[in-house]
Amino acid sequence: MTAVAAGLVRRKPAASPNLRYRWSVAVLAVLLVALMLLYVMVGPVLFAPDLVIKALAGQPEEPLHRIAVREVRLPRALMAALAGAMLSSSGAFLQSVLRNPLAAPATVGITQGAVLGAVLALVLTFGSEGALNDLNTLVPLAAMAGGLAAGGLVYGLSYRRAGSDPLRLILTGVVVAAALSAATSFLVLLSGSHTDSIIRWLVGSLSTRTWDHLRFLVPVAVLAVPLAVATIPVGNVLQLGDATAVNLGLRAELARAGVLTTAVVLAAGAVSVVGGIAFLGMMGPHLARTLVGSDLRRLVVCSALVGAIILVAADLMARTFSLDWIPLLSIETESGSRIPVGAFTALVGAPFFVYLLRART
C-alpha cells in the first residue's frame, strides 16, 4: 500500500535540468554546424562536402569554388547565424524583463526603429555614387542608431515619476512601432525607383551580404557579450517582479534599464545588417524555453543557438526557392535572392505562433 503510494507520488524522476541543458546545447550546436555546412554546399552549383572543406581550407580544385564558398556563401552563412542568435537572445531578454512571453524586438519598436534608420540613410545617399550597393556603411550605422533611439524613445515615453513598468513599456512599444513603420513607408515615397533595396530592408534579407557587413556586425556582437553576461543575473531576478527584485537588493528601475539596453543593442545590431526579420525574436526564445526553461543563464544561450539555426535554415530555403533551378553556372545569381528571407521566417513563424498561443491556453 505505502509502496504503491510512494510509487505514485514519486513518478518517473525527470531528467535534471542541468543534464537537459547540456544535451540541448550539444544537439543544437551540432545541428547548427550541419546546417551551415549544408548552406555552403547548396547553391546554383552544388558542392560535395569534401569540395567545401577543400575550398575552406584554401585548396580549391577551381578558383571559382573558392570564390563561391569563401566569398559568397560562407560570410552569408555566418551572418545568418550571428544575426539570428542576436535577434533571438534579444527576445529572451525582452520577454523576461517585460514579463511577457510575446514580447520581441519587433513588437516593441526596436526593429522598426532600426529599419527606419537604414531606410533614411539609403534615401539620403541616393544621389551619391555607389549608394545602393549594399556596402554603404552608413546604412548599418544609421540602422544601429535608429534601433537605439527607438529603444530610448519607448523607454522615455513610458517613464513616470515612479519609474517605468512592463505593461506601459509594451503598450508604448506597440504604438511606437506602428508610428515608426509608418514613417518608414513615408520614406519609401522618396525612394523613387529604388524600391527593391528598400523592400529588402523592410522584410529582412541576407542577399548581397559580404565580409564587409560581417565586419560591422562582429564588433557589435562582441560588445553585446559583456553586456549580456552582466545583465543575465539581473534579468533573472527582475523577472520575479519588482517587489522581489528590490527585496533581493536590486534597484529595479536601473536593472530594467540595463537589461533593456542589452536587448536593444543585440536587436539593433542584428537588424542593422539583415533588416526587419519578423518573428525570429519571438519564436527563438519560445522554443528555447520549452527546452531549458526560464532561467536566463540557460535561456539566453539556448535562444541564441535556436535563433541561429532558424535564420540559417530560413535563408537556405529563401535561396533555394529563388534559384529557379536553371543550371546557370554564374555566381551572380548567388548574390540576390528574389524572396527575402524575412518572408520565410514569417511563413514558418505564422503556424508556429498560432500553435504556441493555442498551447498556452
Partner: protein, 273 residues
C-alpha cells in the same frame, strides 16, 4: 545568521513618524514603531487596514511619504539596497513567476544579494539553497516549474526563496495563505525555530488570530492605518479589540495546551461604519 554583526543597542527596525501609503492615497498618517531584535511580531487587522502597506514600507518596497525607517540604526533609504537585502528578506503577498521557471531556479535567486551580479554560485550558496528547500519540504518538487504548483506549494517555494537569503530579519505577508492546516503549523513552527535557534527577527501579517497569539510574542492591531493595540497577545487579543477592530462578538479563552489566548468568533456586529 550570516556575517552581519549586530549593532548593539539599536532595535532591529525603528519606524520614526512615518506616513506610509501611495501617491494620492495616504494609508498610515504618523506611524512610530520599534521592532526589537529577536522578537516575533504579528500584524493583525481587517482587510485593507494597511498591514501590507506597513510591511512594504518597512521593507523599503515603497518609500515613506514622510519620515524614515531605520534598520539597525541606519536610515534604510540611504543604505545600499543590496546590503539591506543581506539583512532583511520579505515574502510579499502577491508574486509573479515566468513560465517554466523551476523551484530550484527560483530559490537560487535568493542568493543574489550574496553573490553579486558577476560571480557564479559557490558551494556555500548551494548549501543555503538546499537547506531552504529542505526546510520548506520541497525536495520532491525541486525541478518542477513553479507555475504548475498548487497554491500552497507555490507559497512554500516563495518562502524558500526568502529563507535562502539567510537574513536575520524576516518580513512575511500572510505566509500561511493557501496552506493546509498541517503546512500552516509546519511553516509557523519553522519560523519559531528560526527565531529561537538563530535569533531571526520576524514580523508577519497573519489573518488567523489564534495563530498570531500562539506564534508571536507581540501583536500589533492595525485599523485604518493606525496602531490601535500593541503588546503581548494576552493583552491584545481581547473581546473588546475584536469588537472594535473586526466587528465580531467573540469569546476569548486560554488554550489549555500552549497557554496562549484563543478566540472563538460568534457573530458579526451589524456595523454602522
Amino acid at each position: 545568521m550570516t556575517g552581519t554583526e549586530p549593532t548593539v543597542g539599536h532595535p532591529s527596525i525603528w519606524v520614526d513618524r512615518v506616513a506610509a501609503g501611495y501617491r494620492g492615497h495616504e494609508v498610515s498618517r504618523r506611524l512610530s514603531l520599534s521592532i526589537e531584535r529577536g522578537s516575533r511580531t504579528a500584524l493583525v487587522g481587517p482587510n485593507g487596514s494597511g498591514k501590507s502597506t506597513i510591511l512594504k514600507t518597512l521593507a523599503r518596497l515603497i518609500k515613506p511619504l514622510s519620515g524614515s525607517v531605520y534598520l539597525n540604526g541606519k536610515d534604510i533609504g540611504r543604505l545600499p539596497t543590496r546590503e539591506v537585502a543581506r539583512r532583511m528578506a520579505i515574502l510579499p503577498q502577491v508574486h509573479e513567476v515566468p513560465p517554466e521557471l523551476t523551484v530550484l531556479e527560483l530559490v537560487s535567486q535568493g542568493r543574489f544579494p550574496h553573490v553579486g551580479a558577476l560571480r557564479m554560485l559557490r558551494h556555500t550558496d548551494d548549501e543555503a539553497v538546499q537547506e531552504a528547500i529542505r526546510l520548506t519540504r520541497l525536495e520532491h518538487l525541486m525541478d518542477r516549474p513553479v507555475d504548475t504548483l498548487s497554491g500552497g506549494e507555490h507559497q512554500r517555494a516563495w518562502m524558500a526563496l526568502a529563507l535562502a537569503q539567510q537574513t536575520d530579519l524576516l518580513l512575511l505577508d500572510e505566509p500561511t495563505t493557501f496552506l493546509d492546516v498541517g503546512h500552516q503549523l509546519d511553516l509557523l513552527g519553522l519560523v519559531s525555530r528560526l527565531n529561537r535557534d538563530h535569533r531571526v527577527t520576524v514580523v508577519m501579517v497573519l489573518h488567523d488570530l489564534n495563530h498570531a497569539a500562539r506564534f508571536a510574542d507581540r501583536m500589533i492591531a492595525v485599523l485604518e492605518g493606525d496602531v490601535v493595540a500593541d503588546g503581548p497577545p494576552t493583552e491584545v487579543l481581547t473581546p473588546g479589540l475584536l469588537r472594535e477592530c473586526f466587528g465580531v462578538e467573540a469569546s476569548v479563552m486560554e488554550d489549555p495546551q500552549t497557554g496562549a489566548p484563543m478566540c472563538i468568533p460568534h457573530t458579526t456586529i451589524p456595523s454602522d461604519r
